[in-house]
Symmetry: C2
Subunit: 403 residues, 2 copies
């Protein structure tokens, strides 16, 4: 019997309990031993809930119990999760977590402690919910040098953008609908401003390139400026607007960015809609690969956390090597990153001439919206685009393109 | 240093040599040791090729060399691959293979030998080429009970169907084009009749359900009867025709089938085009998940084989447990499997009446093709459909639907 403690009995925590119960027989078979949930840490009590008898309010009970071999942390946030997880690892307990803030900020250090203690720090659920991506990156794509990893990593924004596209609605209307349905939080900033996706791409980039990518270094733009008109243009161009979180290695420079992008219909991420997430990767010998599934939600996330617990149980005294050095990877200035840009501009008699003068060659897009001009530039660096855009007055919005 | 032998220097074999060379530094880092290719077994000689000095014609040299820890088998076909692989495992050498015929037929036995010897038999490349699917099924989806696994597992047929849809061409024309481009073999039977996909879904089903699924038991239909007209109807219905290889657990019955299917546009497999493959799975807690990528080709397949070699190197004296019992899983008779059916029928004045009498409720589809009627039935078992179809004369073709 392997004793487990669960930190946090919120949405994901209760999902973990449900998954452990629902699939008890097959999980124990795959773990090679019985997984026994001994404690649940939460500040609250849950009278009437069968879990109540396992509830403890004091973490010391858990971290000092030598019977506990695996700690599942699903509290979220950096503190007290960081302190708790570090203590657990220092005391020789493997940790599985769904906590992206914790992993993005302290992943390299916690992996190092796990390695020294010959145990494991696993975090499949921190990115892409139930989609297997961390373990495949670490154990399956080992023959490749990964030169790109691009994901739709936030279900809330993907739901909003899909709904805007399907129904021609504007951002505010759809956000309100998403909040009513529980797909968006009452304070939606972390999702709609791209902060959530930013932490997740920081984790994936650190794993893909083997060095620490600080999320604070990643250029991040949300979807609040995307309008129904932008989406009309995208459709006219046969494209979809997606919030992409992306890291690319170009020559020996690394670029990382979170921003809404007009994705071509031939791109595998084009048809990833609603709350689904997907992660696209490119390896130098493998070519394109994509992983798709439920990026959030109680049970999918719990499925990934429990799968980590099974892996931890199979490797109780053996560290699964993960390449994520604490040496910081210096990202290149986004100014040198190259893309085509879609631009919308208020129309007047001199505008077409002004645009031509600033951008030389552009492709005009007519989405039937009066009073404005829409066009796509050639491939430009961010710096080149910014310089040209300064020469033109009345820019309404611009969105990058991905083919 | 870990010594490796390669069996077969054909397309995939030369890809393995190329991948090992191209990514030597990162591969050795991830393996935790230097992987050294000591022998290449092939009947031929390759004068002028740097590999020539490693060429051996006699397998005894390899299987009796105690320095060889890992054997990579990429010859294809059941024999002599089976004899060679079994001997290698019996002599304590881990084996990595891309050979679907071998794995489908002898996977359970070879896994059992590897377990007894505390080494590994790995076969990521046998299904889906470079797409990580075997390892994720085995190590990532462990918290779930998988109740469906459905794949586009054959790149040749997917290329043909995509090209037919894009250009409105018929099967024979596109097959000829595919053969000229090297996407289809001169004898295309294994691909177009579904035999290749059948072996692959047998492997995936055995892993997903943990018991031996014999490929001979799987109902298999190819794409040779699919016409340009069928595709016109599919488009009219907003669907795509795909060769799906599928296993489903319904209540406590297991159904497996390979057949062309009209896939709804909301299904993740709908937009998998050209030579790409994808595997969709459904877990009872995870929900939907899909893995997408290059299902064949020299380098993607070699990438998967080498990733297995890295895993074998990391687990030289430790068996990675895989649940694939040699106890045969009894598949249910396909007659009880339920689906909607699309039917095309020669039109004459009494046909509509006849159809209505036999099928009661049907949805008529008008794709503007004169002289015939197209319609979709309600959900029927295969047996019910066959009985009703017998009452109607002049059926041109029928295709199952998947939503």
């Amino acid at each position: 019997m392997i004793n487990i403690a669960l930190l946090g009995y919120g949405t994901v925590g209760s999902g973990v309990v449900e998954v452990l119960k629902t699939n008890q027989v097959s999980i124990n078979k795959k773990a090679g031993d019985e997984l026994n949930l001994k404690y649940v840490l939460d500040l609250r009590d849950f009278p009437g809930d069968p879990i109540q008898e396992k509830i403890v309010h004091d973490y010391e009970v858990i971290v000092n119990d030598p019977e506990i071999k695996i700690v599942i942390e699903v509290m979220g946030g950096v503190e007290p999760a960081y302190t708790f997880v570090k203590q657990a690892l220092m005391n020789g307990k493997s940790v599985c977590t769904s906590n992206k803030e914790l992993v993005a900020k302290h992943g390299a250090e916690l992996l190092q402690i796990a390695k020294e203690k010959n145990i494991n720090f696993l975090f499949e659920a921190s990115v892409g919910g139930g989609i297997p991506i961390i373990r495949p990156l670490n154990s399956s794509l080992t023959a490749d040098e990964i030169d790109e990893i691009t994901g739709i990593l936030n279900g809330t924004t993907n739901y909003i953008l899909s709904k805007m596209a399907d129904e021609g609605l504007d951002f505010d209307t759809v956000l309100k609908d998403a909040q009513e349905k529980g797909y968006a939080e009452r304070n939606p900033e972390a999702d709609v401003e791209g902060y959530d996706a930013c932490r997740k791409i920081a984790i994936l980039s650190s794993l893909a390139f083997g060095q620490q990518v600080d999320y604070e270094d990643i250029y991040t733009e949300g979807i609040t400026k995307i309008s129904a008109e932008d989406i009309r243009y995208a459709k006219k161009m046969g494209r979809a607007i997606k919030l992409l979180a992306s890291s690319k290695k170009v020559d020996n420079s690394f670029y990382a960015m979170v921003a809404p992008v007009m994705v071509a219909s031939t791109h595998p991420l084009y048809s990833v809609n609603n709350v689904f997430n997907a992660i696209f990767a490119h390896g130098n010998v493998l070519g394109d690969v994509m992983f798709y599934g439920s990026g959030a939600g109680k049970l999918p996330t719990a499925s990934a956390v429990v799968a980590d617990a099974v892996d931890a149980a199979k490797h109780l005294d053996q560290n699964i090597v993960t390449f994520w050095s604490s040496n910081k990877l210096e990202l290149s200035d986004i100014k040198n990153s190259k893309k085509r840009f879609f631009v919308r501009i208020h129309d007047d008699e001199v505008k077409a001439e002004e645009v031509e003068k600033a951008f030389e060659y552009v492709e005009l897009i007519d989405a039937g919206i009066v009073g404005e001009i829409g066009f796509v530039t050639e491939v430009l660096t961010e710096a080149e685009f910014a310089a040209k855009a300064e020469q033109v007055e009345g820019i309404i919005n611009y969105i990058r393109l991905e083919d």
